[in-house]
């Protein structure tokens, strides 16, 4: 093992290889930061460029793009409420609110550091435990996937502690929106009203841009702004202190584990990881009502988990030849193009290549940490641009970002429609935004896996009695009811105190 690690280190630090890794991270951060341009698109665009390169620099370049893009998406998510990719949607909840409070530097700094820590954690797991975890991951069936998604949904009662009725309503709206489209099991059209565009379901990128960014733009149009005024005054580009980061250790650790595990599971990915990381942070917090108001834990939970998922997704890709995400599917095809077949034997047959890739994955986290920390002072200053310039730029970003994903005008209609829904429900109606996104993201995963599990197991008992699925569902029910039980307990305590004081 030690010899392999040294071989990997020497391979990654060869000047040409390291330069390709550096270029890859830079390209990834740029693509990730531009709304509508995703890491998958960047990898697809640059695969032909790698044909002429040797295997190791080619793969390191693509690995750099993948990891860099997941981090890059946090920059626009924090600054202008437009997540670069769906994996950064959960970062918006607290990141944007922090930026609005003038703490853009702190939010960006936390995103860079925690993304890096999450990525390093997952890379170390990849380095030492890849084959073992890959074997466990394949035992996960639809029942376990359903239980996991249900666990994510169970956090809604914690997400909207101020108004749980509205929070649950928002989540159900998200789940209903996720139902739109052709049913994956029977092929029946659901709520499409005969529109071919809706048959594919609600695409996440334009939906998120509409709900987050365009609803905010509607609000700003209504509020109005003075000529030449910046949206946020006194933007601080001060990075978080070591003490502040130390206080986030529990959140970072939990999100690292969640992100890595979600990454290992084929078909899950950074989006699910960031939402589960975020909801777990809310659920276990002593002050869940503070989430969404711009607190460091919110940014740390989402960003740690999404980058940990990147490292985790390499585990099934390399150890089993099963891609854990869209980006790793493309990386797998790049490896195949270079004549490499992944699977359990790759660790024995191609140790130099495998360990160089793994060390490369590890190094990308240090590279974007450096880029992120260095760039924070400049990125943060973007908010000081007069709003009469920033506003049309954001509008154009939302338009191009929604259109660019599929070059489909329907996506633009959807984005505006979601903007209107977002404005009316979230800004005018006072419904929280996080549960609606949670429902939209987790909806398909929950429903499809529940129905698949039901088909496979015959009935509901067949799902509940599976050890992992049953345990996760049990915990989910406890999580779902815990805010209610807390209220009842505190009510009983207050009554007892009142009784005691009246006796005295």
């Amino acid at each position: 093992m030690l010899t392999n690690i040294i071989t990997g280190l020497s391979g990654s630090f060869e000047p040409y290889n390291f330069m390709m890794l550096l270029c890859g991270v830079f390209v990834g951060v740029v693509f990730g930061a531009l709304p509508g341009l995703t890491g998958v698109m960047a990898i697809a665009l640059f695969i032909p460029f790698t044909y002429s390169l040797d295997l190791i620099p080619a793969i390191l370049f693509l690995v750099g793009i993948y990891n860099g893009s997941v981090f890059g998406g946090s920059i626009t998510a924090i600054l202008v409420k437009v997540p670069g990719d769906t994996g950064n949607a959960a970062t918006v909840f607290d990141g944007y609110a922090m930026a609005q409070k003038g703490e853009a530097g702190k939010a960006l700094g936390i995103a860079a550091v925690t993304s890096s820590i999450g990525g390093i954690f997952a890379s170390l797991i990849l380095l030492f435990l890849a084959p073992l975890l890959a074997d466990v991951a394949v035992t996960f069936g639809p029942a376990e996937y359903f239980a996991m998604a249900f666990m994510g949904l169970s956090a809604i009662t914690s997400l909207g502690v101020n108004n749980q009725l509205k929070s649950i309503t928002s989540c159900i709206i998200g789940l209903v929106l996720a139902c739109i489209g052709m049913d994956a099991i029977t092929g029946a059209d659901r709520l499409t009203f005969g529109s071919p565009f809706l048959q594919d379901g609600i695409p996440l990128v334009p939906a998120l841009i509409g709900l987050f960014a365009f609803s905010e733009l509607f609000k700003q149009i209504n509020d109005g702004i003075q000529d030449g005024e910046a949206l946020v005054k006194n933007v601080s580009t001060k990075l978080p202190s070591l003490n502040e980061l130390w206080q986030l250790r529990k959140t970072i650790f939990k999100s690292s584990i969640i992100g890595t595990w979600i990454g290992i599971l084929p078909g899950a990915g950074a989006t699910l990881a960031s939402f589960l990381g975020y909801t777990e942070a809310v659920r276990s917090s002593k002050k869940p009502e503070e989430f969404g108001t711009g607190i460091a834990e919110g940014v740390a939970a989402a960003e740690t988990a999404n980058n940990a998922a990147v490292g985790g997704s390499f585990i099934p890709t390399l150890a089993l030849g099963i891609p854990g995400s869209g980006s790793t599917a493309l990386l797998l095809s790049a490896l195949t193009l270079h004549g490499i077949r992944t699977g359990p034997m790759i660790f024995v047959q191609q140790p130099k290549m495998v360990y160089t890739i793994i060390i490369g994955v590890l190094l990308t986290n240090f590279i974007f940490l450096f880029m992120g920390v260095w760039g924070t002072r400049y990125f943060g200053k973007l908010l000081e641009i007069p709003y009469n310039i920033l506003f049309p730029t954001i509008v154009t970003f939302t338009i191009v970002g929604s259109y660019a994903v599929r070059n489909n005008i329907g996506d633009l209609w959807l984005m505006f429609g979601m903007g209107v829904i977002g404005y009316l429900l979230l800004i005018k109606g006072g419904f929280p935004v996080a549960p609606i996104i949670l429902g939209l993201v987790l909806g398909p995963l929950t429903e499809m896996n529940f129905r698949r599990a039901y088909l496979l197991n015959g009935d509901l008992m067949g799902i509940i009695t599976r050890p992992i699925a049953g345990t996760l569902i049990l915990f989910s029910i406890i999580f779902l009811l815990s805010p209610l039980s807390k209220k009842i307990i505190s009510g009983i305590k207050t009554e007892k105190l009142k009784e005691a004081s009246s006796v005295d």
Partner: protein
């Protein structure tokens, strides 16, 4: 009052969707287990109950009387106008192309947001659109709408 309007609107939409989910998702397409319309129906029933809860809650919590000014006011008119601009923009985007349609839309939105300086109103939308076209269309090769007929020629020339 806000909650009452939100709850009633949600309830109306939910009822409308529930009536349609029956027609669109054909139960006959199910093989075994849960059919395609089960999940949306279940969610819509829950949503209807929650909407009723919101409406009832609004009657309990607020004694405020209904006033038409809550709906018909200047701010909401601005919102309706913005939505109209977005609808027109999306309708004409594929006819006029990105470079021609986008500055027009941005000008209107900047006027709505309260920008009065004519130099900004007329220059910034064009500069932003050109920069975005250079970045996305020229540099990253993301195809943007180029319009039809004469507008296509103009867009292609400008790109």
């Amino acid at each position: 009052m806000r909650d009452r309007i939100a709850g009633l609107s949600l309830l109306s939409v939910t009822i409308f969707l529930f009536m349609n989910v029956n027609i669109v998702a054909r139960p006959s397409m199910t093989t075994k287990g849960i059919n395609a319309s089960f999940w949306p129906k279940l969610l819509l029933i829950i949503l209807a109950l929650l909407s009723i809860g919101i409406v009832i809650g609004s009657f309990i919590n607020s004694k405020e009387k209904f006033d038409l000014k809550i709906i018909f006011n200047k701010r909401n008119l601005k919102f309706v106008l913005t939505v109209l601009v977005c609808i027109i923009y999306t309708s004409i985007l594929e006819i006029l192309g990105f470079i021609i349609a986008t500055p027009m839309m941005l000008m209107l939105l900047l006027a709505f947001i309260g920008i009065k300086k004519k130099s900004i109103l007329f220059s910034v939308p064009f500069i932003v659109t050109i920069c975005m076209t250079l970045l996305f269309s020229t540099l990253i090769k993301v195809p943007l709408p180029v319009g039809v007929s004469v507008f296509r020629v103009i867009n292609k020339f400008l790109i």
